[in-house]
Amino acid sequence: MTDFFLILVGTALVNNFVLVQFLGLCPFMGVSSKLESAMGMSLATTFVLTLSSVASHLVYHLLLAPLGLEYLRTIAFILVIAVVVQFTEMVVRKASPLLHQVLGIFLPLITTNCAVLGVALLTLNRGSSVIEAALYGFGAAVGFSLVLVLFAALREHLATADVPTPFRGAAIAMITASLMSLAFMGFSGLVRL
């Protein structure tokens, strides 16, 4: 139990995917200018990340490893991810067109959210069980969602600030991310993975 908890805390905070591991940065920068879209993106990513983490794990251990095809893992994983994302996209499109419009290009880009493939590959390296893989994916997604949502709130706040012109927009967002990452350094050493 504590192990599972540690995995969650470890992935969500200490080795936060976005701020410490540098994964999933594009959606982090791209979908964070509005809190609403950030929340939508968080949900979508959490879903995709957890699901694809488990699916990749299964594909690897049930298909690739028995056949000695480890080197095909990248292709196989990315296929799994793309399919999960595509599937999610269709469902979201049907269920909430506005969310779909808002997430726009970012929903397909969850495919290329490195975090998703990153989780799949990192779980492999850690040699975890299915449950651990799911937790790992979920923890990573929670970490991603947490910083994404907080960052979005921060950026909304920033929208009213009197930022010097060259820094408006992406530049100050990057610098904000830098300071956030600095703050997250405080968690370093909390849980060793």
């Binding site: 909304e156 706040h157 929208a159 009213t160």
Partner: protein
């Protein structure tokens, strides 16, 4: 003083009332010339009903109410109408607006209406009289009292509140009104209680006005026998207890719902001056031509309260009180918290003028330059509406109107308590006012756009219908011209297509019919509820017309297709 109910926040600025309450109420000489703005009340401006050059008597109606919410205007001196033209209005932005100017004859020849007994007269008579007398709220908003008094039609009222809080510094007009006319005020309150069907009267008065309270007690003792009981409750002095929402909360513990009216919680709130004016209009037949105005400020040698004729140029009135123009630094109409700084001495006294402050520079210094907000939270502690003023400020500055609304911008009563305490001297409520006006303008534009779209859709539908009908006629003509000719060999392919089409058309037709019925229902519902304004109704009518056109177009097309269908058979 422990009170049962209270509102959060509030401030206690220095009251500075003493200078003007030392001397009794007095009447300045009649002005030679009065300027009466047509728009000195809430709602639509009044419409002049006199000609230039016409002689008018004091109390004679010179402009009539126009529209649902509006008020009549009366000559406040006897003389000739010199002009109907634009004059500076008593507003901070120095706007000009249409006014009726009366050149006085020096005498006071009254034209009053016949007295009425308010206990006996029919309610409609009373309301008509209020309407005819141009009585509006004298507490600040100048809302037509007649409209307000119709409350019974929509709401059940149990309490009439007399708002004698007078919480702003400097102002003592209500204080003096009560000292001199407490009995009239209470009788006015009874009159309102009758109109509203209330069963009690509650007077809320701040504890810094012991004389007024004493006078009220005396008047109350004298009328103990009356059916509607009067209760006088002193409350600790704190700004803005006089805001009706805050007063109601403080006296009764009830909260007026956001966007609602005091009537929604069974109360009806009036200023003492309003009550006295309403009583005068009914009991004595005297329309609203004068009011109590506090003249104060250190640039005045003889501050005090005066009964001033409406339209008196402020300079004249202040001159009467011994204005030292050299020392005058700022002229404020109303209190220092919510009042407006004026740029001219020539502005006339209007119905909403309860106080004129002729302040010296040291008394009300220029506001220091605005500094950045440091989010210190002082404003939040002062806000009587529990808003987060600093957030509203950021949103207003950043023009993030949807977020400002999300943080309840429209619940701000613009009391200025937040600006008062702000260490960065930010004129916060100016930001809110600007944001509110922008939002209102945007809403208006959005409604316009919606309306335009509906009209555009209607036109499209109409054109489509005309087109479809034309085609249907052409098809019919064709059939009539060649009834017997068999279709040529290739017609199989042709007739197959209409058959499929026909089904589609039929579906389209029934959809159009459903849409029409829906639009009809929406219109009927809106019309019945009685709350929709004419613009909305018109909009719904347009939508209904569009649906009709669509249905007719579908019908025509269907008919044409049927005609083609039937032809080969």
């Amino acid at each position: 003083m422990a009170e049962r109910f209270d509102f959060p926040g509030g401030i206690t600025p220095p009251t500075r009332k003493a200078r003007a309450t030392r001397s009794p109420l007095c009447t300045p000489p009649l002005p030679r010339r009065v300027i009466l703005p047509l728009a000195q009340h809430a709602g639509a401006p009044a419409e002049p009903c006199v000609e230039v050059g016409q002689r008018v008597r004091t109390g004679e109606r010179i402009a009539r109410a126009s529209g649902l919410i509006s008020a009549a205007l009366h000559a406040s001196i006897t003389g000739r109408v010199a002009a109907i033209e634009d004059h500076p209005l008593p507003t901070a932005d120095g706007r000009r607006g249409p006014c009726i100017v009366i050149e006085g004859e020096g005498e006071d020849d009254w034209l009053t209406l016949p007295p009425l007994d308010w206990r006996q007269a029919a309610e409609t008579t009373l309301l008509e009289r209020l309407d005819a007398s141009g009585v509006v709220g004298l507490g600040g908003a100048a809302f037509p009292t007649q409209v307000k008094a119709r409350i019974r039609e929509l709401h059940a009222i149990d309490t009439v509140i007399v708002n004698a809080a007078e919480c702003e510094p400097y102002i003592s007009a209500d204080d003096l009104t009560l000292r001199h006319f407490a009995a009239d005020v209470l009788e006015g309150a009874r009159l309102m209680a009758r109109l509203a069907g209330a069963e009690r009267i509650l007077v809320g008065i701040e504890d810094d006005k012991p004389e007024a309270r004493q006078a009220l007690e005396v008047a109350r003792e004298a009328t103990l026998a009356e059916a509607v009981p009067v209760e006088i409750r002193a409350i600790a002095t704190r700004y803005p207890s006089g805001g009706e929402r805050q007063l109601i909360k403080r006296l009764l513990g009830r909260e007026v719902p956001s966007g609602g009216l005091p009537a929604d919680v069974g109360t009806h709130c009036h200023n003492p001056g309003t009550l006295r004016a309403a009583l005068a209009a009914i009991r004595d037949g005297v329309p609203l031509v004068e009011r109590v105005v506090t003249l104060t400020g250190e640039a005045l040698a003889r501050p005090g309260n005066v009964v001033a004729r409406l339209g008196t140029p402020m300079g004249e009135l202040l001159g009467f009180a011994g204005l030292d123009t050299q020392a005058l630094h700022r002229l404020v109409m109303g209190g220092p918290m919510m009042g407006e700084a004026l740029g001219e001495l020539a502005c006339p006294v209007v119905k909403a003028t309860n106080c004129l402050i002729a302040a010296t520079r040291s008394e009300l210094p220029d506001p220091p330059p605005e500094q950045p907000c440091i989010r210190c939270g002082a404003c939040e502690e002062a806000c009587p509406a529990s808003l987060l003023p600093q957030q509203l400020y950021w949103f207003a500055r950043g023009r993030e109107h949807d977020k400002a609304e999300r943080f309840h911008l429209f619940d701000c009563i613009e009391c200025g308590a937040c600006s008062y305490v702000c260490p960065s001297h930010i004129p916060l409520e100016q930001y809110y006012r600007a944001a509110k006006q922008t939002i209102r303008a945007q809403r208006r534009e959005a409604a316009r756009a919606d309306h335009a779209r509906h009209r555009f859709e209607f036109r499209q539908a109409r054109l489509a219908r005309e087109q479809a009908e034309k085609e249907a006629r052409r098809a019919a003509r064709k059939r009539a011209a060649a009834p017997a000719t068999r279709p040529p060999a290739g017609s199989d392919a042709q007739s197959a297509a209409p058959a499929a089409d026909l089904r589609g058309l039929r579906i389209a037709h029934s959809a159009a019919r459903a849409a029409e019925r829906k639009a009809e229902k929406a219109l009927a519902r809106a019309a019945e509820s009685g709350e929709a304004d004419p613009a909305t109704l018109e909009d719904l009518e347009t939508q209904l017309a569009t649906a009709r056109e669509n249905r007719q177009a579908a019908e025509a097309r269907l008919q044409a297709a049927r005609d083609v269908e039937e032809k080969p058979s």
